[in-house]
Symmetry: C3
């Protein structure tokens, strides 16, 4: 069944996304999204309250590309890295060429001196869509469990 | 092969279980178990010593339902959330309509002020069983690595 | 397709590897590798700089077996345990009887008094090879995000 959105493809998409960020290959990050997309980082509290905005809000791939460019400048004076541990996805709805998934994440931050701390935990609320043979995010809402979101957030979740 | 217990189904079961707890949809939690089941939370030390009991012990689904009701009352004065990061399952034995699996977990707790800490780590020792087209837990023993288990444990692991 | 290196087999290999270490079944650990293999634990900084060595370096399975023997002696006076949470693998290249994968990991350490801390995070850079019906590591480089690697590292990553 060509184009079916299998769990295997969803696993692979999530794995590749995390790898892109953690291996500092950020220039490839916007390619995980459709041109017209929604990428939001928000808190559980705000999400529950129905606020659409967030710490990060982008609704086109172009905005994501701009963000990467900004990060590259900002990163000149920073030296820290992140590691995303992505949990197991739940496919909430699977409708042929689009699927809704929820996937938990935990991100740790490694500072220059080697100290590692929990940076964020939460859940991705995603809509994935078949696009020319590959699976892309039409929507990825990263809902952070904590309301203490680092407003200088260097890298996307 | 209808009814085969594939790795994919085991992944999906584990993902759905964690999602149920973390999204505060606890009323659905007992449905992951058979009527006659065994759900235990214990420590590695006690498990190794062969003690059958644990911090939490339930051997019917009714006991799990009671537990949810109790939690709902207790939670009135609490405000904290949890995030389960479930690792990759190992299928230890797969015998047609039942499978034995071991799956590591890490749970972080997010307090009201946003501080996130490691709450528990350990491994689920499971027996899954085919039941009317869906996979359920006949047995889930959550063996915590640490002996310091929070005795006021608000949510199940 | 006999012998194909599917994502499912890669998931199972990673799960079994972590389980072997965390369940203190270390004598079985060398069996995850080919006779002629490469197992290295290093830091992201050293790996990026192109240094081939590492905190741990072994290029035969015999060296891994020796390491386990040494650990068993060293462990007489220690009492701590580890929990590996292995993330989702990305298959970077899949060429029939060999596959290159990258898989993130997070390891927590549980001390005797029950205190749990983040021990290491990083990524496995692997080459898996089909060997007599099972999948083995021809190469596993554990690249730790932090340069602060415990030089007394009791257990392998």
């Amino acid at each position: 069944m060509a184009g079916a959105i299998t769990l295997e493809r969803i696993l692979a998409l999530n794995a590749a996304y995390a790898r892109c960020i953690d291996s500092d290959a950020m220039e490839g990050w916007p390619d995980f999204f459709l041109d017209k997309c929604l990428y939001v980082v928000t808190s559980a509290e705000n999400h529950k309250a129905g606020f659409e905005g967030g710490v990060i809000y982008a609704d086109t791939r172009g905005m994501l590309t701009d963000r990467v460019a900004a990060l590259r400048k900002a990163n000149i004076y920073e030296k820290q890295s992140y590691r995303h541990i992505v949990g197991l996805p739940t496919v909430v709805k699977n409708g042929g060429d689009t699927a809704e998934c929820e996937t938990p994440f935990l991100v740790v931050r490694i500072m220059h001196d080697g100290v590692t701390t929990i940076f964020a935990s939460g859940v991705y609320l995603d809509t994935c869509r078949e696009a020319g043979g590959s699976l892309k995010f039409e929507k990825r809402i990263a809902v952070c469990d904590s309301s203490r979101i680092d407003t200088l957030m260097a890298l996307p979740l």
